[in-house]
């Protein structure tokens, strides 16, 4: 069993309620932070922990906090990004649904550190029942003196509000989220200015993911230094992975980032191996935006070294032969899955979720989607593969926000690693409607790539 910092108590009977959460040691960290530490101490502690943003980008949280502008007389805000929408990712939902007080406690500590008296949780609109769970938890925290005016007689005031989105993946991008929270269309802002200077209602704002803010609780409890000892290198602490696809045990797992990808997939402690005794074909290890990897490159790096479940190792080889930790949405595809079809659903997803503000994303995502539909309907042309490649290349890096990149990368990686499958789709149009290309040379176990 690995270390568990977030989910340790997630399955204690009644942990959703304040009484049980408190009995199990909850709000100890909030008490410690508010009573014995200054806001700057908390920031310092988070810096020491090496905690990196768990939403996808992996930016050091302490550093992000230290960028927050503190002009005299202007309120600052902390906003919790609970707009979890990246295909393959359902870890924040798990945290909020099972152990909501952990997030609330994390928010109280973080609000204290950043000086946010009004903190907002922006949650995706579809998680409607979780809004009730969170509001209940907030009410309980308030009733017990953890929120409101003059918390623990420290003079610190804090309120937390839950704001529901209404169906838009783009609102997971922090500036689109802020626009949405201001009651507008979720169009990402053009940066600079960054939210740390001009965020919500033009006030200095920090936006952090649910898991990131929850992780602040164990950091305060065990100290940043101890937290940093867990994991490896710059991948400190624990990370939630939501595993799905063709595995025996889909679900949310907490790992300490020292285990290998192979262990994660095949061990009974985690995914429990590939379902129905099939073989592993490919995997998208960090949410739909990150590059897909064929089994051989997933388990071992191009250099033949074991690949581990952490930021650095998953990125080994860059985008040529590696991928990314991303949001921790781990999608496993077995030998029966068709890469073209799977990528087509993702192309459709990004087309559907593009806000339409900037031309490369608005036009490019829809063009790619149309080409994928053509490939899927058996009318593809050989030139479509290069065309897809060119379109994704022209989108990548040229858009206002990272959605353009997120739409481009899966297509690029699918073509890079599975070009022969695309070609087969075109040359065997009829057959491709009935069966998939199969394993070819991607399966595990496999000869190691050069």
């Amino acid at each position: 069993m690995g270390v568990k910092l977030l989910l340790e108590k997630a399955h204690v009977e009644g942990i959703r309620t304040y009484e049980v959460y408190r009995r199990e040691g909850g709000y100890r960290a909030a008490e410690k932070a508010l009573k014995t530490m200054s806001p700057d101490d908390v920031v310092e502690e988070v810096k020491k922990s090496g905690l990196r943003g768990r939403g996808g980008a992996g930016f050091p949280t302490g550093l992000k906090w230290s960028f927050l502008a503190k002009p005299e007389g202007i309120p600052r805000h902390l906003v919790c990004n609970a707009d979890e929408s990246e295909p393959g990712t359902f870890k924040d939902r798990y945290l909020m649904e099972y152990i909501p007080h952990l997030l609330i406690e994390g928010l109280i500590i973080s609000s204290y550190a950043l000086g946010s008296n009004n903190t907002y949780i922006y949650i995706r609109g579809e998680y409607a029942w979780i809004v009730d769970i969170l509001e209940q938890a907030i009410q309980e925290a308030k009733n017990n003196g953890w929120l409101g005016k003059n918390i623990l007689s420290t003079g610190f005031d804090c309120e937390i509000y839950v704001q529901r989105g209404a169906g838009a993946y783009i609102c997971g991008e922090e500036t689109a989220l802020l626009e949405s929270l201001e009651g507008k269309r979720g169009n990402p802002r053009i940066k600079p200015p960054f939210p740390a200077v001009q965020g919500l209602w033009n006030r200095p704002t920090v936006v952090n993911n649910v898991e990131t803010l929850s992780a602040v609780v164990p950091i305060i409890n065990i100290t940043g230094e101890e937290y940093a000892k867990i994991g490896v290198g710059r991948s400190t602490g624990t990370k939630l992975i939501s595993a799905c696809g063709n595995i025996n045990k889909p679900g949310v797992y907490e790992i300490d980032m020292t285990i290998s990808v192979e262990e994660f997939i095949y061990s009974d402690e985690w995914c429990g191996g590939i379902k129905n005794g099939k073989r592993l074909k490919a995997c998208i290890p960090g949410g739909s935006s990150v590059p897909i990897l064929p089994a051989n490159l997933l388990l071992k790096t191009a250099k033949g070294e074991t690949r581990y479940m952490n930021y650095e190792s998953l990125n080994d080889g860059g985008f040529v032969s590696g991928s990314m930790m991303g949001s921790g949405g781990f999608i496993v595809l077995d030998e029966d899955q068709c890469i073209v079809k799977h990528t087509a659903t993702l192309a459709h997803f990004y087309r559907h979720e593009s806000c339409g503000q900037c031309s490369p994303c608005r036009e490019g995502t829809s063009w790619m989607d149309k080409i994928f539909q053509r490939l899927e309907s058996g009318k593809g042309k050989m030139s479509d593969i290069d065309l897809l490649w060119h379109i994704q290349f022209n989108i990548d890096g040229n858009t206002i926000c990272p959605l353009g990149d997120a739409a481009a990368w899966p297509v690029a990686a699918a073509i890079r690693h599975f070009r022969d499958e695309f070609e087969w789709h075109i040359t065997h149009a009829e057959e491709a409607q009935k069966r998939n290309y199969g394993l070819a040379h991607y399966a595990d176990p496999l000869p190691i790539v050069q």
Binding site: P75, E84, S85, E86, P87, G88, T89, F90, R93, N118, Y120, R124, G125, E126, Y127, A128, W129, E159, Y161, Q163, R164, G165, A166, G167, A168, Y169, S180, L181, E182, G183, K184, R185, G186, W201, S242, A243, C244, G245, N246, P250, G251, V252, I284, S288, G329, I331, L333, Q337, K341, H342, T345, L346, H348, F349, H352, E353, C355
Partner: protein, 167 residues
């Protein structure tokens, strides 16, 4: 249906507005639209949107812009029960397309259509964050996960039963 919140809902609106700093009541737009959609027949008519605009002191176009941006707001009438089936990658590999086809066959409607009795609408949606429990769909406030044909049958049956009781 006259478009006018009850006193109870009006209090809720005021409570929502109070979450934001003075003059930032536009922030209440998304929550109030959710509330309006629930109250006024499951969709947002022009009348409803204009009403929300007047409540929050916004221009009507600001409300139309927002309502058409987010997929959860229906700008056309929908059935009493809306089946929103996820079709993105992880659900697709677990057979969401078969589920969609089954619902189509069972209800005799296509995607985006409503049954003649006004009970059911079928929609396809993009990833709802339940990839480990695929295939899945949203029905009202809740998720229905690990869908099978049998489960769909049971859900439809239950909806029909509830509809009769409520009538």
């Amino acid at each position: 249906m006259a478009v006018q919140f009850s006193q109870e809902k009006m209090n809720k609106v005021q409570e929502i507005i109070a979450r934001y700093p003075e003059g930032k009541q536009k922030s209440a737009l998304l929550p109030v639209l959710h509330l309006a959609q629930e109250e006024f027949g499951g969709w947002l008519s022009v009348e409803t949107m204009d009403y929300v605009a007047s409540l929050l002191n916004l221009l009507p176009i600001e409300v139309y812009e927002v309502a058409t941006f987010y997929t959860m707001y229906n700008t056309k009438p929908v059935g009493k029960y809306v089946f929103e089936v996820c079709q993105t990658g992880p659900c697709m590999i677990e057979g969401s397309h078969e589920i969609i086809d089954y619902i189509k066959e069972k209800l005799g409607i296509g995607v985006g259509e409503t049954t003649q009795d006004g009970l059911f609408t079928l929609k396809t949606v993009e990833c709802l964050g339940a990839c480990g429990y695929a295939p899945m769909m949203q029905l009202g406030k809740h998720y229905k996960e690990h869908l099978t044909k049998e489960k769909i049958d049971a859900i439809i049956e239950e909806c029909r039963k509830n509809a009769t009781i409520n009538n």
